[in-house]
């Protein structure tokens, strides 16, 4: 397994970026698990097994959602785009294009490398400086 979630040498990455990468990896794993359960449930005929796996996939939905929320809280521009796409009625692609265009408008969105502190990018890409919780950091 090793440390595949890192695309760059981990020792060169700030701690916040390593945390961000871990959560991205976790998000990917949860999405994979959801896809696998979907396939298993599609072919399973034993109702008891279906019940067990239906319960299990619910856990994966929860984990995926928590991972996503964590990442969005630390990535203002991603959060801004997601707010324009998620839980909206209508054309998904259209909402996506509109949300991206809106996020790119204004000084924050135009800033090259804009992202969050967690992503190791510039400080601001939306409403705040993206500082949030610093729990556990100290001497």
């Amino acid at each position: 397994m090793g440390f595949d979630q890192y695309h760059e040498p981990p020792e060169e990455l700030p701690e916040q970026t390593r945390t961000f990468a871990r959560l991205c990896a976790s998000l990917t794993e949860e999405a994979e698990a959801i896809g696998w359960y979907e396939q298993r449930l599609a072919v399973e005929r034993d109702p008891e097994a279906v019940a067990v796996m239906s319960d299990a996939v619910g856990e994966e939905y929860k984990h995926f959602s928590m991972d996503l929320e964590f990442l969005l809280r630390r990535t203002p521009k991603w959060r801004e785009i997601a707010q324009g796409v998620l839980f909206q009625e209508g054309d998904i692609v259209e909402h996506g294009e509109e949300a991206e265009a809106e996020a790119d408008e204004g000084p924050e969105g135009d800033a090259p490398g804009a992202g969050s502190r967690a992503a190791g990018g510039a400080a601001s890409a939306g409403e705040s400086l993206g500082i949030g919780s610093l729990r556990g950091e100290g001497l």
């Binding site: 809280r73 204004g106 000084p107 924050e108 135009d110 800033a111 090259p112 490398g113 804009a114 502190r117 510039a122 400080a123 601001s124 409403e127 705040s128 400086l129 993206g130 500082i131 949030g132 919780s133 610093l134 729990r135 556990g136 950091e137 100290g138 001497l139």
Partner: protein, 271 residues
């Protein structure tokens, strides 16, 4: 457009990037509360109050046979620290200057850091914020003037927490004088005080400008709640031909859920 009105400022995208980076760099080292207590949010500028799940005792109904009780909520506090930047300095930055003068921003950042720490760790009575030290039922532990036996003070604080059934790990918010002494002091035999404290508390030791003395607190979670509305942000206020007026802003509420989960260490009187 957000209430920060950044789009109205005569500042280029690169200029905003430099301002945000400078603000973040100046804010991060001193934000002690966020390193030690539960942080929720940011929930957005629209968040006005924290739900406490309680109602006032008084029945305020004006109709016989109907009870009416007002909900009790904890309003969020808005902190704003203003600063100015010279437009000539902003233009210099756009031309590639690497020594843009952000002195006023730096002062504003330090002010809001100290305000956040002071309200959370001590209290801001007028703002309705009851802080950690002022809520603690434990008598403060008085250290020696020379910081001799400081590790003993921290150990006594941890023992007091354990005796109250408050589990660790524990963290320590160190005010300026305490921080300097902890970092530079070696105990008998040359063992660094900092290392000794780490072994006692098992959690972070944090520089906390605005804190008087030090506060030892449990980091098991669920004892102290910081709820962020708008997290620290830079907004635009006004400009003229010479300067741009900006501000650092945040909104939050803070509440102590377990008052006995912290012990203060204070300096001896008559110093």
């Amino acid at each position: 457009m957000s209430h920060l009105l950044r789009e109205h400022a005569p500042i280029t995208a690169e200029g905003w990037k430099r301002i945000d980076e400078e603000a973040q760099a100046r804010l991060l080292p001193g934000l002690a509360a966020r390193r030690l207590i539960d942080f929720s949010g940011p929930h957005g500028w629209e968040r006005s109050a924290t739900n406490l799940g309680r109602v006032e005792d008084a029945d305020v109904s004006e109709l016989k046979g109907v009870e009416a009780n007002r909900r009790v909520v904890l309003p969020l506090l808005e902190l704003r620290s203003r600063f100015q930047i010279s437009r000539a300095e902003l233009r210099a930055g756009d031309r590639g200057a690497e020594d843009v003068d952000f002195a006023d921003l730096d002062v504003a950042a330090q002010r809001i850091v100290e305000a956040e720490n002071e309200a959370v760790f001590h209290s801001w009575q007028k703002a309705g914020v009851a802080g950690i030290a002022s809520s603690s039922p434990h008598p403060p532990i008085v250290r020696k003037k020379s910081f001799e036996d400081y590790s003993g003070c921290v150990a006594r604080a941890v023992e007091l927490l354990l005796r109250s059934g408050i589990a660790g790990p524990y963290g320590v918010a160190l005010g300026g004088e305490d921080y300097t002494s902890v970092v530079e002091t070696a105990e008998h035999g040359g063992y660094p005080l900092l290392e000794h404290l780490r072994q006692i508390v098992k959690g972070p030791l944090v520089w906390a400008p605005g804190v008087k003395g030090a506060i030892v607190l449990s980091m098991r979670g669920g004892d102290f709640a910081f709820e962020s509305g708008q997290d620290l942000s830079v907004g635009y206020e006004a400009h003229d031909a010479e300067t741009v007026s900006l501000y650092i802003e945040e909104s939050y509420s803070f509440r102590v859920l377990t008052p006995e989960a912290a012990v203060a260490i204070v300096a001896p009187k008559g110093r």
